[in-house]
Amino acid sequence: MQSRINVEVSLFGAFREMGDAPIVLALPGGAQIRDVRQALREEFTKRQPAFKQHKLLDVSMFADERALRRDHEALAADTKLVILPPVSGG
């Protein structure tokens, strides 16, 4: 198992307020989707000390280009993900 993996997270919807560029997180090997959520929370708080969108982060899902990814799923090395806040299309 790799000691560190890089996870690139693209932002959509209300999370665009945190920047348009994807956020790259360095996580321990064997990390799960739930660890991405926590690392993203810390990154958002670092960028905006007054970050208040914790509830939005809690109800958002992660996905790749094909499907949603569950909190318990382990990450492969150098994974690309997106964070999906509640949807409002149509």
């Binding site: 280009e65 094909r66 999906l84 806040p85 509640p86 949807v87 409002s88 149509g90």
Partner: protein, 159 residues
């Protein structure tokens, strides 16, 4: 036989004519269409335009899955079309076009309703409204999986 499903995400104006043409088949006697358009108000606020943010690869997967579900539920001879706009639209702009063609009207009505209702709950699309006073807000929407990120049964979006 032509493939019965067309899905897409476009930054160009959507075409209801293209949708009607796609779902037509000689053996069909019915077509039902839903067209979503930008309205000038929401929740008591005057709206000037709406921006649509879309994660296009997954959105197309979801649209295709919805069409496959509609065909399985309402009949193997359906033809289904879904396109969603990406980018900013003025009042009256077309945000989504859904069309279903079928041998008889009942399955077209039901399938079209099914597609728009499921799209609103499951497609990775976000709406940002721009108001007369210069402010903008992201519209509160449907959580893809609620708070239960590990639950499988309510959250199947794409296979």
């Amino acid at each position: 036989m032509k493939t019965p499903i067309h899905v897409g995400v476009s930054e160009s104006p959507l075409s209801v004519e293209a949708a009607a043409d796609f779902v037509h088949a000689p053996e069909h006697g019915a077509m039902d269409m839903f067209v979503g358009r930008v309205r000038n108000h929401n929740l008591g606020r005057a709206v000037t335009s709406v921006s649509y943010d879309v994660f296009a690869p997954l959105a197309c997967n979801v649209f295709r899955e919805l069409c496959e579900e509609a065909i399985a539920k309402f009949g193997p001879r359906l033809r289904c079309f879904i396109e969603h706009h990406q980018g900013t639209l003025a009042i009256g702009g077309i945000s989504v076009v859904i069309a279903v063609g079928s041998p008889h009207r009942d399955e077209s009505f039901k399938a079209c309703r099914y597609l728009i209702e499921e799209l609103k709950k499951r497609a990775p699309v976000w709406k940002q409204e721009h108001y007369v006073d210069g402010n903008s807000d992201w519209v509160q929407g449907h959580a893809l999986c609620g708070h239960h990120h590990d639950e499988q049964e309510t959250c199947r979006v794409a296979s």
